[in-house]
């Protein structure tokens, strides 16, 4: 009663043009509500959103701050007809709008809003697959030399001469991290060389699943190199998942075993410099590679060679010398040309026309 009186006294204007529609491209259960601000927006505390299932009993479902004209109701049940009202609120006074037209929420099968991503997936995936297919047909593919890669042979040779082990650190990455997978490829090749030269290999791990795979790869490399007898099952082992416990363990190994060469290849976090600087202090040659942007400065500073980002993936394909893997690099290169072209083209459109070019990349 008093509420109605106050309302008429103050004369707070309700919001207008309330519109409700099913939220697109979602799993259902969501309705978007939009309205035009009350003319008294500056005096309001907030807007309240009311919902009804039968057109008469409106129940409050949400509240949102002043100057806002959009609310997402995430509590709807699919298939039920709803109507919405929005109220202007000032202290205890409320002014309710006219109800919105009725609406139901439904789930979508395909996320249409992401169509730009599907297009990009098709272009990049297509290019990569096309060149892999080309490579399969035996076409020669040129890949430029990658500095850190050339050093691997020397590094293994040096360790053999000095009679010291090689330490291969895979980092903190999980098996699905691409840096880890690239690193495992390189590990396979390094293990083949240590098998040939009969050099001791040490591979401490931080992830349980990566550990199981690394073990398998090293074992296989020794078999392929014709030295299954030289394989030491304890050369690949698990250390710790905890970042700094892993680093402490590696620091211990570095200072006690004094490896001639350290490979620090994979995904790393802040422990990167702890490991790399300890390795540098022991006088080892260090070859690093990671796609962890934040750690690259430290590897570049403390290591002899650093494979930066994509160089790591390229190195892993290069070292395995498998044409199919090299073909993918060609596909990536053409993708880069496309990205550069898209950037230039979009900029030209964005500069000379009024077309909202950024919306294509939402």
């Amino acid at each position: 009663m008093s509420l109605i009186i106050l309302c008429t006294l103050v004369g707070l204007a309700p919001p207008s043009n309330v519109r409700a529609y099913d939220a697109p491209d979602d799993g259902g259960g969501v309705i978007n509500v939009e309205w035009q601000l009350s003319t008294d927006d500056a005096q309001t505390d907030a807007y309240e959103i009311y919902r009804s299932e039968n057109g008469s009993d409106f129940v409050k479902v949400g509240l949102i701050g002043r100057s806002r004209q959009f609310y997402q109701d995430q509590t709807t049940e699919d298939g039920i007809l709803y109507a919405y009202k929005v109220a202007t609120v000032s202290d205890t006074v409320r002014a309710l709008s006219e109800p919105s037209p009725e609406v139901i929420s439904t789930p979508s099968w395909i996320n249409v809003a992401k169509v730009n991503i599907y297009v990009a997936m098709l272009i990049f995936g297509g290019l990569i697959l096309y060149y892999i297919y080309h490579a399969r047909k035996g076409k020669e593919l040129f890949i430029r030399k990658i500095a850190g890669l050339q050093a691997i042979d020397d590094a293994v040779g040096r360790a053999t001469e000095m009679g010291k082990p090689i330490l291969y650190v895979l980092g903190l990455g999980y098996i699905e991290d691409i840096a880890t997978i690239a690193s495992l490829n390189i590990l396979g090749e390094v293990a083949k060389k240590t098998a040939q030269y009969d050099t001791k290999l040490i591979v401490p791990n931080a992830d349980p699943i990566v550990y199981t795979v690394a073990r398998e790869i090293v074992k296989e490399s020794y078999t392929n190199a014709g030295r299954p007898d030289a394989y030491d099952p304890e050369s690949v082992f698990f250390l710790a998942r905890e970042q700094m416990a892993y680093a402490a363990g590696i620091d211990g190994i570095m200072t006690r075993e004094k490896p001639a060469t350290n490979f620090l290849v994979g995904y790393f976090a802040a422990e990167s410099l702890v490991i790399a600087e300890t390795g540098a202090a022991t006088g080892a040659i260090q070859i690093a590679g990671t796609d962890a942007l934040a750690q690259l400065p430290f590897f570049v500073t403390a290591c002899d060679y650093t494979l930066i980002g994509e160089e790591l993936y390229a190195a892993s394909a290069y070292i395995s010398k498998r044409p199919l893997l090299l073909g993918a690099i060609k596909g990536e290169d053409w993708s880069k040309v496309i990205i550069a072209a898209a950037l230039i083209l979009a900029s030209i459109i964005g500069l000379v026309s009024q077309f909202p070019i950024l919306s294509l990349f939402q």
């Binding site: 593919l141 040129f142 690259l296 990205i339 950037l343 950024l358």
Partner: protein, 213 residues
């Protein structure tokens, strides 16, 4: 001076000093701290996996609530243990394949969205991007510099040609951007790491020894 009487403060402090002693050289104290670190960190790992994963999402629902579907993860998970049985040890590849396959699949669209589309969007030369710097007309200059930097750096990662001619030139410009960035990031991180050292010293000198208050 009021030295701490809390045994845990003593344990934490002695372990900390053992780690810091590594700066002088590797020594028995560091070695002891390192092994305790590995032991306790893994003890915590076991606890975490048991109480937070295996019990609540596998054993309790499977054996107490009879959610029989969970037999699948149980059996597939057990395949990891075939590693110890040489004749069927290849079965370990099954859980690895499922785990790795799913996450790499998720990675493809997610990477394209967050790393390619978004980065390209932020680099395009157009009015809204100029304004996003909140720097007036200089915003145009900053956008142009970023635009050139991105293209040049990208050319450094072009592997199909030697770095000669045009690509040689652009990739060298790209490296300039990369190295300035690395140097800046290094210099910036110094402050953060010194702050952590200060924090450690404040703990040792304050909470433990009570020299500083």
């Amino acid at each position: 001076m009021n030295i701490s009487t809390d045994p845990w403060v003593w344990i934490a402090s002695i372990l900390s000093i053992a780690i810091l002693s590594f700066l002088y050289k590797e020594n028995p104290f560091f070695r002891a701290a390192e092994h305790i670190f590995l032991g306790v960190a893994n003890g915590y790992l076991v606890t975490f996996y048991w109480h937070r994963i295996l019990m609540p999402i596998l054993f309790r629902p499977l054996f107490q609530q009879g959610d029989l579907l969970l037999i699948v993860p149980f059996i597939v998970g057990m395949l990891y243990l075939t590693r110890f049985i040489p004749r069927v040890s290849w079965l370990v590849r099954i859980p690895i394949a499922i785990y790795m396959g799913y996450w790499t699949g998720v990675l493809i669209p997610a990477t394209i969205q967050a790393q390619i589309i978004k980065q390209v969007q932020g680099t395009i030369l157009t009015a809204p991007n100029f304004q996003s710097w909140n720097a007036g007309t200089s915003g145009i200059a900053w956008s142009v510099i970023v635009f050139i930097g991105v293209l040049c750096t990208l050319s450094y990662f072009y592997f199909s040609r030697e770095h000669k001619g045009v690509i040689g030139f652009t990739s060298r410009i790209g490296i300039v951007f990369v190295m300035i960035g690395f140097g800046a990031a290094f210099g910036y991180t110094v402050m953060a790491r010194i702050s952590l050292l200060i924090g450690k010293l404040q703990y040792l000198l304050g909470d433990w020894l009570g020299i500083i208050k």
